[in-house]
Symmetry: C2
Subunit: 348 residues, 2 copies
């Protein structure tokens, strides 16, 4: 399967971005930094250093490659890479508070260890630091190099607009919990906000710093947004039918949590007695094993699994078309294509 091995670009970008990310995090105050370093996997709960277990670094890689793909050197993409990674982690820390999740990637979440208040402030600080890094890249680059204020301003606006979309997606997702059924279209809008917006920003922000033509920036933003939709559709499929041995979650995990994801909303949109039965099942406070199995059968039988699969495929095609139209550097285009496949073609 394409993309099942981590692309070399991830390691290359990590080497470039991680020192800058650490430099940025170092400016946080003594009361905030420990929770952030813990969240990033740099230290354990006692502050002891860990072999870096940070995330895959997909967003930083997109940001750096988006500078390279329009012909700029990789370093031009670094402030954007650091900023999107900070904002991504702001959203994770706040999401865990909002959802009451006690574990993330097999570790206790920030709020469970440091308290809700500290987690809220840590998230606020990362969101703020993301903007600071764009507007004053020396925070990440450690030099007092002259800043192109116009490019910094455009990049900061892109990040703020994308964050606003992400916040709106998060609010919509919260709202879904109170609704008996959610339309497929609303689910797409939610996922475009919650997942697509920041990936779109990541895929374009390096090009903004590189002063690329607006047409290229827009095409790269579209590439990232569609890649985000494809990723989320696959994530939704794995949330139901992923192999517990590889996902680390129980079978049909998202159905147990009543999540209104693409396969579920597509199945409900099909209508009829099957959709009614599915809605009734998902309205149960707690589902039995047989009810969970039945719900999964219904989602499949009503075409929800197929529609989400089609959505992933179509979004990926649109993403790759947009990428071709933006690119001037063939090597970086290859890297971005490989990265896109790695992100979407997951078996876990």
């Amino acid at each position: 399967m394409p993309g099942s091995e981590a692309p070399a670009s991830l390691a290359r970008v990590r080497t470039l971005v991680e020192p800058a990310l650490r430099r940025a995090v170092a400016v946080l105050s003594d009361e905030i930094r420990p929770a952030v370093e813990y969240h990033l996997g740099w230290v354990d709960e006692f502050g002891k250093e860990l072999a870096n277990d940070g995330g895959k670094g997909i967003r930083p890689a997109l940001a750096v490659l988006s500078a390279e793909v329009v012909g700029a050197p990789a370093v031009i993409g670094v402030p954007g890479a650091v900023a999107v990674e900070l904002v991504h982690n702001f959203s994770l820390i706040h999401d865990d508070v909002i959802d009451g999740d006690t574990e993330r990637r097999h570790r206790a979440t920030v709020w469970t260890l440091f308290g809700v208040g500290a987690a809220i402030v840590a998230g606020d600080a990362l969101l703020t630091l993301g903007q600071q890094v764009l507007l004053n890249p020396s925070i990440a680059l450690g030099s007092s190099a002259d800043v192109d204020l116009a490019a910094a301003s455009r990049a900061a606006r892109l990040l703020a607009d994308s964050t606003a979309e992400m916040n709106a997606g998060q609010a919509l997702d919260l709202d879904f919990e109170r609704q008996r059924s959610v339309s497929y279209e609303d689910c797409l809008v939610m996922e475009a906000g919650k997942t697509g917006a920041l990936l779109s920003c990541a895929a374009a922000i390096g090009a903004v710093f590189a002063d690329a033509e607006q047409g290229s920036v827009d095409a790269l933003a579209r590439f990232g947004a569609q890649l985000g939709l494809a990723f989320q559709a696959v994530d939704d499929l794995l949330g139901i039918w992923g192999d517990p041995a590889t996902t680390g979650k129980p079978t049909f995990a998202d159905l147990r949590q009543h999540k209104k994801t693409l396969p579920v909303t597509a199945a409900i949109a099909a209508g009829g007695p099957g959709a009614e039965e599915l809605m009734t099942l998902l309205a149960e406070t707690e589902l039995s094993e047989s009810q969970v199995t039945r719900a999964a059968e219904l989602v499949d039988a009503l075409g929800g699994r197929q529609r989400a699969t089609d959505e992933a495929r179509t979004s990926m095609e649109v993403a790759l078309e947009a990428l071709e139209s933006a690119a001037t550097n063939p090597a970086a285009t290859d890297d971005l294509r490989e990265l896109a496949h790695f992100i979407v073609d997951r078996q876990f």
Copy 2:
């Protein structure tokens, strides 16, 4: 007493800023806007419009006057005024979640009505919107006027840096709750962050948009920061000795809540058996009436009341000196001086 009546500049600025603030809030998504409009006092909990009961608008007034004081027209200060007001309200909404406060200005707080998750997202959205307004003022001004990208970028950096200081102050305040005693100096640092940073930003951001000399911008920032310290010192005094009839809080309110404010930390810094007795009292889970009264007596007898009073006076003097050094427009300087007295010389 000077400043006991609301200065005319507050009403004048409100007329100018409120339509812009409403325009900005209107871009929030349908799932976020209701909580924000409720928080701002524009609607009740059912979404019914209220006669505007918003805050005094001190920060917007500082922002607009900071443009005028360096010779620019008031409208130049409007994007900054809207942005600081948005960020101020982000901090209030999150603070209420963090502190578990159920009431603000005699109304239920956002999290009690809309839930913790919705309150966190509403705060995140306001913080983000503050940056968007600076980087794309048409969100607030409603026109597609050309943006001076360099000025917008400097203003956005000032706001982000000030927000970072505010976050750090908030984290320090949270940390204080776990400490038996806090030094007077740490308390000053906390208050400079939590209160001073955003007032400093407000007092300078209009001058940044007006492209004023860096010397004037710095002096106005110092004016705002020192004004913030003076305000907070008075607030701390009123938190203990304010008249319940005018504060709407019980006598010695802050002592009942074990708050480590300037008068308290100054008293503890005096040392000796009185300070020991005070620390022991404040370590009680719940204080009796006689214990509260005794604690207030101790703070006074140990010189805490006097030191906070001196702090307020000195900060105010430094603030007004900084203001004189920045000003080119005498009428706006008078307005700022009057506003400063109104902010600090409160009886409540």
